[in-house]
Symmetry: C2
Subunit: 214 residues, 2 copies
């Protein structure tokens, strides 16, 4: 995403200790999530990041590129984590539990609720295709793990995968509404996801215990 | 929400067969969900509804009032349905199943995915307090039914209610991403909600059968 790194900042640049690029992302995330993507101009972002617009354009071609970078940050780590799980010899239920919990923690991390940007109408634009492709890769991994966990196939597999993925992403909606989304949400959602695949209480408890031992 | 009804339309008004007020809502829903709330002016709404801005202001004080009306439409029917369930003598699990299924059908209904507006930053404004209050009433009903279904209390009750409500609202995110959100999603989510409360397969099957008999 970033076009260049290490270019000297405009004088009076950010003093937060973040790199200029990270400062732009943080300022844009704040503005997109509090004032709205449509209402945020590149001028406002540059001002909030305390840099010139020229410097901003050195890093990103426009606000859509910043949005794309922010969106990719909400899925790429989970895709990478899922790939690391694929190499493991653990039972599928344990791996699914771990992926759900990891993904929930990722969606709850950071200052801003970046997942809330998933519903922007602007995301239909083809410039956001790389995000949709990455999210689809993540869903595929869920599908494989759900298939192996619940011994499912066909329409049942598609529907249960959709429920499991929906349960994980529902923290985006919960994060907005609830004030008490504290510790333990990752484990609760991972437990619930396994129940949704059809595992009974003993199997859920076993998978959780195995996942938490690691 | 509407200030007046039955006032004569500006000439050249809507010819869709909808009332002027319904036409304004439909036009605004389409614009909010496809171009974004921030990018939609009252001028654009009036133009899309084929009425004058003066006529629009006769029905709504501004676009925030139209948004509020649209948001209330996504929760009020479920609150009313939940109230009708409260008078029933059915087991709690059957009532919870029915509420989940009803709510999912409501969120999947209509031309536009109005639930996607839940994540607008603008909803923090106090003018949307009536929507938040109504949604809170709905969550309270879920809490009572979850408590009675799963024999839960305290922090467990709050967490499981949050999971069940999240599962229901996750159709908002799914509706955007999936193309195959067809028939049966209401039953699948209602089943999954009961599993999340801790009911076993036999109890879930029993509740579904009872709910679908009615």
């Amino acid at each position: 995403m970033a076009r260049g790194r290490g270019r000297p900042r405009a004088s009076g640049g950010p003093a937060s200790g973040l790199s200029t690029e990270a400062e732009i992302r943080a300022a844009a995330a704040r503005l997109f999530c509090t004032e709205g993507y449509g209402s945020t101009s590149t001028y406002k972002i540059a001002q909030a990041a305390r840099i010139s617009q020229a410097t901003m354009y050195h890093y990103f071609a426009g606000k859509h590129e910043i949005l794309l970078a922010l969106l990719l940050d909400t899925v790429r780590p989970s895709v990478a984590y899922a790939a690391s799980l694929a190499a493991s010899t653990e039972p599928a239920a344990t791996r699914l539990w771990r992926l759900c919990a990891y993904d929930v923690r990722l969606l709850l991390s950071g200052e801003e609720n970046l997942g809330s940007l998933y519903l922007l109408p602007e995301l239909g634009d083809e410039r956001f295709a790389p995000f949709h492709a990455e999210r689809q890769r993540l869903i595929e991994t869920y599908r494989e793990l759900v298939a192996a966990t619940g011994d499912l196939a066909g329409p049942d597999l598609a529907a249960v995968t959709s429920l499991v993925f929906g349960l994980v992403e529902s923290v985006i909606l919960r994060r907005r509404a609830d004030t008490d989304l504290g510790s333990g949400m990752d484990a609760r959602i991972a437990d619930a996801a396994l129940r949704v695949t059809g595992l009974d209480e003993a199997a859920v408890n076993g998978a959780r215990a195995a996942a938490q031992r690691l």
